[in-house]
């Protein structure tokens, strides 16, 4: 709800374009301070509503020049919140907000001459902020299938925490989505380019390797367990896929992880012609994330194939008729890192 409100604000507030840079710098500074104080991105960002990212640039540079760690973190998080908010509306806009935010969050770590005086604990904390920030931004792009934007940010997250299970998992997710986009569609020869099947197989293999690296780094990293199961399912390794997905579902605590485990189990069951099992899995997924368009489409299709046409219609009608206020794209694929965003918000409030 909050994020959608920002989007509405961004589209509706009267223009501030005529104001000189100095005013933009001050307006931005006040917005960042308000966000630090309240944690309310929608209200804090309201004065920035009609300013394009390039118009914010002088203000971002001013924050970088002041180099106050708290202000840098607050500004970076506000940029992240705005970027997430507009992701489903403007991919290029999101990229610009994220690029500025990335510079801000990277600058929290001062130059080597100064950072020598920081404790190891503080250094670790700064690295964690930067890593999680970039992971959340990358996951935003993954949730709308923008692999170019996602990979750029994953790379930056990897610079800070190269052995992180979370980063490995993001790398794998990008490969997995890429494999999906290269799926040979036999109804459309236009997509059946030579080598596409091999490309898809190669991407799935790279995704599997990335998930296994994540699990070597952290054997209990549940998202990697679940996504490994998904890749195994796409590789037609049903037995291994089922084991991974069942283990993932057992380990999962976060709603997003439970959702993904259910969705991927449903797809596996459907591929094995277990429509009853698939329906139950998709129903579970939809009960966890009722806004998920993927879950709606999957469940309605399983209902149709089971001969339950009235149920298929009800699922479709309930979803398409609903009026939603939130940023729907964050729920669509299960790729968005809600936990990371929550961590950043809490850290800023501490």
């Amino acid at each position: 709800m909050r994020m959608r409100t920002v989007a509405i604000v961004l589209a509706s507030v009267p223009t501030l374009l005529a104001q000189p840079d100095r005013s933009v710098v001050e307006i931005y500074r006040q917005a960042v301070a308000a966000y630090l104080e309240s944690g309310d991105a929608a209200t804090s960002a309201r004065p920035l509503a009609s300013l394009r990212p390039d118009q914010l640039e002088p203000a971002v540079k001013a924050v970088l020049t002041r180099a106050d760690p708290r202000e840098l973190e607050s500004a970076a998080d506000l940029q992240l919140e705005i970027g997430i908010t507009v992701a489903g509306l403007s991919v290029s806009g999101t990229g610009a907000y994220f690029d500025q935010g990335s510079r801000l969050v990277t600058a929290i770590l001062p130059p080597p001459a100064i950072s020598k005086g920081l404790s190891a604990v503080r250094m670790e904390e700064i690295a964690l902020i930067s890593s999680i920030w970039h992971r959340v931004a990358a996951s935003t792009f993954l949730s709308i299938n923008d692999l170019t934007g996602a990979r750029r940010l994953i790379q930056r997250a990897g610079r800070v925490a190269s052995e992180s299970a979370a980063v490995f998992t993001l790398v794998g997710t990008a490969h997995e989505i890429d494999a999906g986009l290269n799926d040979l569609d036999h109804w459309d020869p236009a997509s059946a380019k030579p080598g596409r099947t091999m490309m898809r197989a190669s991407l799935l293999l790279r995704a599997e390797e990335a998930y296994r690296s994540a699990l070597e780094s952290d054997p209990g990293y549940v998202l990697a367990v679940i996504r490994l199961g998904r890749v195994q399912s796409l590789q037609k390794n049903a037995k291994a896929a089922r084991e991974s997905l069942e283990r993932g579902a057992t380990l999962a605590r976060e709603p997003r992880h439970l959702f993904l485990a259910a969705m991927f189990m449903g797809a596996l069951q459907e591929s094995l012609n277990d429509l009853t099992g698939a329906r139950q899995s998709y129903e579970r997924a939809l009960s966890i994330v009722p806004q998920s368009q993927d879950a709606v489409a999957a469940l309605a299709f399983a209902e149709l194939m089971s001969g339950r046409i009235n149920r298929a219609e009800k699922v479709a009608r309930d979803y398409t008729s609903a009026r939603r206020d939130d940023a729907w794209w964050l729920h669509k694929t299960g790729a968005f890192d809600f936990e990371g965003l929550q961590w950043l918000r809490q850290h800023l409030r501490q």
């Binding site: 109804w187 709606v296 489409a297 299709f301 479709a316 669509k332």
Partner: protein
């Protein structure tokens, strides 16, 4: 080469009785199949055909036609419009203008609904005979985001009109791009189309300057062609969004010129896929219709 395809709607005389929690129980002893057929001679529809002019087989078994009607059953049009980012600007303006033109040409007894999709899919307007909310919904359209055309078609097919017996349900799809964000694959959608009674027409924007500027080779989507074939309809290409108004007009004219063949299947098994073929005797023309229907 003549294209013989059959559009069929299986409607159950006593209706399939399904509650939300039950497996389906079909009580029908008499099913009526409605086949929506286009007969063209070149670019011109062939008018004046009677039941005796058609030969119809259901799984190879000749069937007696109960009735043949032309243009007497109101349309129930589901407009499914692509509003992804590639439509932004004048392309969306042209699309809205084209659909407005189509809406104005509908008859008082016709009804229409509106579904839009980019990445999200929204039923912008439920079925109505009132034109004002339809025009208002069209006016408010914006274009952003990626393309969930597979999921959109599938969900639209599920929202079949409740009064299919009193109207001709038609899904009219407009899209300019390939799918980039659906859960369902194209083969899922084709399977769902086989099981739907909706006639599916497609207007596709191809060779648009937007695609050229991005290095995307502009060529018709084979999937959308298969979709129209499976749905018993036709596909029209627009090389520019400026052509859309004319093509939507052609689509509506084609719909007006279709025959609705009705029969009660006999001598064939009840469930499963029914391969239907329609040919003409005593007349010439190219028949376009659905290749069969699925009964369960």
């Amino acid at each position: 080469m003549r294209r013989l395809q059959i559009a069929a709607v299986l409607i159950s005389a006593s209706a399939a009785m399904i509650s939300a929690d039950q497996q389906p129980v079909f009580r029908a002893s008499v099913d009526v199949v409605r086949i929506d057929v286009s007969v063209m001679n070149g670019l011109n529809p062939v008018a004046g055909l009677k039941a005796g002019d058609f030969v119809l087989t259901d799984n190879g078994v000749p069937q007696a036609l109960d009735s043949v009607s032309l243009d007497s059953v109101p349309l129930n049009l589901m407009l499914v419009l692509d509003t992804s980012g590639s439509l932004a600007g004048e392309r969306l303006t042209h699309l809205i203008d084209a659909v407005n033109g189509l809406v104005k040409s509908l008859r008082a007894e016709d009804s229409a609904s509106l579904m839009t999709f980019s990445e999200p899919i929204r039923l912008a307007l439920e079925t109505t005979r009132d034109r004002a909310p339809l025009v208002a919904a069209l006016t408010g359209l914006t274009a952003d985001g990626m393309t969930s055309v597979n999921d959109a078609i599938f969900l639209a097919l599920q929202l079949r009109p409740a009064d299919a017996g009193e109207s001709r349900p038609v899904l009219l799809l407009f899209s300019d791009g390939r799918d980039t964000s659906s859960w369902l694959r194209s083969d899922h959608v084709i399977e769902a189309t086989k099981r739907s009674g909706m006639l599916v027409h497609v207007v596709e924007l191809v060779a648009d300057e937007w695609m050229g500027a991005r290095g995307v080779e502009a060529r018709p989507s084979a999937f959308l062609g298969t979709l129209a074939d499976t749905g018993g309809g036709r596909r029209w290409f627009a090389k520019s969004s400026r052509d859309l108004r004319e093509l939507f007009g052609k689509a509506l004219n084609e719909l007006r010129a279709r025959y609705l063949l009705t029969y009660s299947p006999s001598g064939v098994s009840r469930e499963g896929w029914h391969d239907v073929k329609v040919t003409l005797k005593n007349a010439r023309g190219e028949i376009t219709a659905r290749p069969g229907y699925f009964a369960q």
